[in-house]
Amino acid sequence: MDLTQTLEIASCTDPGMVRSHNEDSVAADAANGLVVLADGMGGYNAGEVASGMATTVIVTEMQQVLASARPYDVDPRTSQEIAARLLREQVLKANTSIYQAAQSQPQYAGMGTTLVVCLFYDNRVLVAHLGDSRLYVLRDGKFKQVTRDHSLLQEQIDSGLITLEQAKNAQHKNLVTRALGIDPSVEPEMHEYRTKPGDIYLLCSDGLCDMVDDDDIGMALQALGGNLKLCAQQLVQMANDNGGRDNVSVILVRVLREYPAARGVMAKVFAWLK
């Protein structure tokens, strides 16, 4: 099912005001309902390499598997939909590619990347994430964070060691506890949510949410939701106006209409047989 008419996607990525390199990477495939954002880390250009590999591998591999399968197909062995398994497999492939490159080439040693991926299908969105790149949603005028960072800071907040207020001034905002390409295997956190026409999804790197308050981000989405491209540029500009100490990347996805899965006769028969 081609989602180009269902999803409006805009993205913007910028090195920020301080850094000379942009280690963030964004990619989108509207037809397959896939958007990927990665924030790389590692010396010299290794961060760019890691995030670039993550987005390319995930997008191209997903395109390949989705050419012959649909996310809502049911796996006869597990009698579950294959979407989560497909996405997880491609994330693991990206992990292996980055890890092997880091192992074999000394200049890439230790590189890795955070990741947030959304796969839209059948009136739903499947989200996989690693590290501190985030997904937010604006629905019915309410702006909410969807993912929870895999970071030392988030763990401290969860365990009640520090308050949200203290977290804003914390010194170790940048320490992530899970990332792609660091270890031979990784477990992405995955969740599925129902979407609603009119929803606006925001994927962003920490360069945005560290520099701009969530309230201001929500306000920009509400005010400029009518023009996603401008909204993406505005968000990057707000981060830069506030100092722009890190690379800033955003992807915005608006759900224009319902997109229920067009299940064929065979699938229905199959479901009935079960």
């Binding site: 880390m41 060691l161 010194q171 660091i182 520099m211 201001d216 505005q234 100490r245």
Partner: protein, 262 residues
């Protein structure tokens, strides 16, 4: 002390400590760092060192100054930056790196904490407290988990200590507050203060514009609708348009005046 390592084709030629406030680089002999190469201008660049910070500035050289592959006019030197002047390379080794031998911390840079490393560090810490007097051990136990986590991260060589505190988020510079006053329409005379970073104006479907408050001042941008707003009778393009005091905006048939409050 920060220093520069001069090399050509990977061959280290010399090390130059940055002892002076101004260290000049150029082809002429009066420069602090003389590089006798025709690709280098007579007075090519200067490095200004203030306390622990060094800034590189190109002095209008013919062939320009390149740092890490990017041509620059002015650049805040960071540890391991490579300055290229023709065939010559100058590597900057920062203060903390030169003395401690560790890479200079960069708190904004995302780094990963590996559970294995954390565990090893935690065990190491436990072993240390085990051999210390009971009082000290009790004290160590009372140390918050956050401190432990940070300490273990440091021990694992992941987080780098930098004595400088994290700079506070850049405060918005004092900037006069702007407002608009409606000049026509049903609400003529009404005033609207522009205190928020974004204010939307207009009617959805007809013409919507947004007024953004930035450190440089106020800007108006067209968002949607067939009718673009006009400023002082001139329709604006797709790019944000800077607003001046007493500009008259016309949007969806309504005129309004933008002004700055004293």
């Amino acid at each position: 002390m920060a220093k520069l390592i001069l090399s050509m084709d990977g061959l280290v030629l010399k090390e130059i400590p940055l002892t002076k406030e101004r260290t000049t680089i150029g082809r002429k002999p009066h420069n602090d760092i003389q590089i006798d190469n025709l690709a280098v201008s007579g007075e090519h660049a200067v490095i200004v060192t203030i306390l622990n910070d060094s800034f590189l500035e190109d002095l209008g050289s013919t062939n320009g100054t390149v740092v890490n592959g990017n041509p620059i006019k002015k650049h805040f030197l960071q540890n391991n930056d490579v300055v290229e002047l023709g065939k010559y390379k100058l590597k900057f080794v920062g203060e903390s790196a030169a003395t401690v031998g560790a890479e200079k911390a960069d708190f904004e840079k995302t780094m990963v904490l590996r559970p294995a490393a954390m565990k090893a560090a935690a065990e190491q810490a436990k072993a240390m407290t085990g051999s210390s007097p009971p009082q000290a051990a009790a004290g160590a136990v009372r140390a918050t988990a956050s401190q432990q986590a940070v300490a273990s991260a440091t021990a694992a060589g992941i987080a780098d200590k930098d004595p400088r505190p994290v700079p506070a988020p850049a405060a918005r510079p004092a900037q006069p507050l702007g407002a608009i006053q409606l000049l026509s329409g049903a609400n003529a005379g009404k005033e609207l203060e522009l205190s928020k970073p974004l204010t939307t104006l207009g009617k959805p479907g007809v013409g919507v514009a947004v007024l953004t408050r930035r450190p440089q001042g106020y800007f108006i941008t067209h968002v949607e609708g067939a009718n673009r707003p006009a400023v002082n009778g001139q329709q604006i393009g797709a790019a944000p348009h800077a607003l001046k005091d007493h500009d008259v905006i016309e949007l969806a048939g309504v005129k309004m005046e933008f002004f700055l409050k004293a």
